[in-house]
């Protein structure tokens, strides 16, 4: 996605610009984000900075109402977790799964729900420390995290984004 402002650099942040009652979405690169933050009103400036820091967290979730409707119209699949006996219908009713095995049994159905809740469906965080390799990965991740927060501190968002990408790649690798 290319930045709406300069039309050159890669946009990393989506910003809601409020003018009176009108709202527009703008995709911005870190550079233009910083420049606009200085020009716009105080509140949006402050949050623009927060959002630039946290571009990684910008939500890409589908409009919530759409998803809810489509889930409701769909007939509930007739599935049961063999380990605990929880049916998918019972889960939909209570919002609580029966056992860790339910995630396997209802994987397909849970996918859109997780996407809606979290905007993503691939874990990127800590892992159980079962192997020596995992332990080594962990210490490299910790190192990268430290470098990333240092980059954010000195407002070097491009460097921070690069480190974040490296961390993501590690998480994906570890997951495969």
């Amino acid at each position: 996605m290319i930045c709406d402002e300069c039309g050159q650099r890669e946009a990393t942040v989506t910003l809601t610009v409020v003018q009176g009652t009108e709202r527009t979405l703008r995709n911005l690169c870190p550079e233009c984000m910083r420049r606009m933050s200085n020009a716009k009103g105080m509140l949006s400036a402050i949050f623009a900075a927060a959002m630039a820091n946290m571009a990684a967290l910008a939500q890409q979730r589908p409009a919530e109402t759409e998803v809810e409707e489509s889930l409701e119209e769909e007939a509930l699949p007739d599935k049961t977790c063999e380990r605990c006996g929880m049916t998918y219908a019972a889960f939909k009713q209570s919002g609580r799964l029966g056992c860790p095995g339910c995630y396997e049994a209802f994987r397909e159905e849970l996918q859109p729900m997780l996407q809606q809740l979290h905007g993503r469906t691939q874990h990127a965080g800590r892992q159980p420390l079962q192997t020596e390799a995992a332990r080594r990965t962990r210490s490299r991740q910790e190192e990268l995290h430290r470098l990333m927060s240092e980059a954010v501190q000195r407002e070097d968002f491009e460097q921070a984004a690069a480190l974040r990408d490296e961390l993501r790649a590690m998480a994906r690798e570890a997951a495969e």
């Binding site: 809601t16 105080m42 509140l43 402050i46 949050f47 900075a49 927060a50 959002m51 820091n53 946290m54 990684a56 967290l57 910008a58 939500q59 605990c84 919002g95 609580r96 799964l97 029966g98 056992c99 860790p100 995630y103 396997e104 849970l110 729900m113 997780l114 809740l117 979290h118 905007g119 993503r120 469906t121 691939q122 874990h123 990127a124 965080g125 800590r126 892992q127 159980p128 420390l129 079962q130 991740q141 995290h145 990333m148 927060s149 954010v152 974040r164 961390l167 998480a171 570890a174 997951a175 495969e176």
Partner: protein
């Protein structure tokens, strides 16, 4: 700003054993298994120093409510009277709740903006436990939890911030909306519904999957820092342009807090917020820690524990006022 507007930080991790059903409330045998595994693992790892095991069944209703009010255990755990338990290190603000919605809720509470440190506390506890036991984990979905809202990192990071000017100027709605776009929630802490008594707000992540723990914590901290900046800017404007109004608010509140013989919780929160604002502006001679501790010490179960007897509304209000006088000193 001289005195932090961030009151406290909290992190909790949800973890489950892969071979047990999530809900143990109807299965005392499995709940006992869950408890002994956890307590055993913590003891074997040597990380159990300062921890005491409390079964909910062994605690009085008042003590359970007190711990829940202090946030050392959750309300859900306090209600799991038959099967719930907690490994508690009260001094360091550490708890491992057992038999909550998830098998384990590892939690650390720290003062001020020590959110990363609180996360470190939780990870150290988790590492100690996971040398002995293994938790339900899926390479794609991360740590598996009873409710899909917690899946992934299982991490909820939150800070409490005091934002009197942000709420006075009605900015909290805008702020919440923007925070939501970052996967964060901002809500009041004291009072029911949409109220934010004392102008105390909690900023926490609701997204848990697809981000690293570090990213989630940084997001909460970033929003906390920027809320603090916004609050500081609004205070500065107000100090410049409405000094008299502001002084009137602060000094009246400060005098009333040290004079009142009875205080309803609503009145207390209003006065507290104004006095805390005065403290941050450097207009009031008091310790921030003393003032902040009153937020918890004046809660009903804390007052009951202090008085060691049940209190009706009237007695609660009297006890609250006396608790405040003891902490801040009498004006009369």
């Amino acid at each position: 700003m001289s005195v932090s507007t961030v009151l406290s930080s909290r992190v909790r991790l949800a973890r489950n054993y892969s071979d047990l059903p999530f809900d143990l409330s109807e299965r005392p045998d499995l709940a006992e298994d869950c408890l002994s595994r956890t307590a055993g693992a913590l003891a074997t790892s040597g990380a159990d120093k300062g921890f005491l095991l409390h079964r909910m069944a062994d605690l009085s209703e008042g003590r359970r409510a007190f711990l829940a009010e202090s946030r050392l255990i959750s309300g859900d755990l306090a209600r799991a009277v038959q099967t719930g338990a907690v490994l508690l290190n009260e001094r360091d603000g550490l708890s491992v709740m057992i038999g909550e919605e998830d098998h384990l809720r590892i939690q650390a509470i720290r003062p001020r903006m020590e959110l990363a440190e609180a996360a470190g506390d939780c990870f150290r506890l988790e590492d100690a436990l996971s040398k002995q036991v293994s938790f339900a984990f899926d390479p794609e979905l991360g740590y598996l939890t009873a409710c899909p809202t917690n899946t992934g990192t299982g991490l909820r990071a939150s800070i409490l911030v005091h934002l009197p000017m942000v709420s006075q100027q009605g900015k909290s709605g805008e702020v919440s909306e923007m925070a939501a776009r970052l996967g964060l929630t901002i809500r009041g802490v004291f009072g029911k519904g949409r109220l934010a008594l004392g102008d105390v707000y909690m900023v926490s992540n609701h997204v848990t999957l697809g981000r690293t723990e570090e990213e989630l914590i940084s997001a909460v901290l970033a929003v906390g820092r920027h809320l603090t900046d916004l609050e500081a800017t609004l205070r500065e404007t107000s100090r410049r342009e409405e000094r008299l109004t502001l002084e009137n608010r602060v000094y009246r509140a400060w005098a009333l807090l040290r004079s009142a013989r009875t205080l309803s919780s609503n009145e207390f929160y209003n006065l507290w917020s104004s006095a805390r604002l005065g403290l941050s502006l450097g207009w009031i001679e008091a310790e921030a820690d003393t003032l902040d501790a009153l937020l918890w010490d004046t809660l009903p179960q804390h007052l009951v524990a202090w008085r060691e007897t049940a209190l009706d509304e009237k007695k609660l209000n009297e006890a609250r006022a006396e608790c405040v006088l003891n902490a801040l000193g009498k004006l009369f």
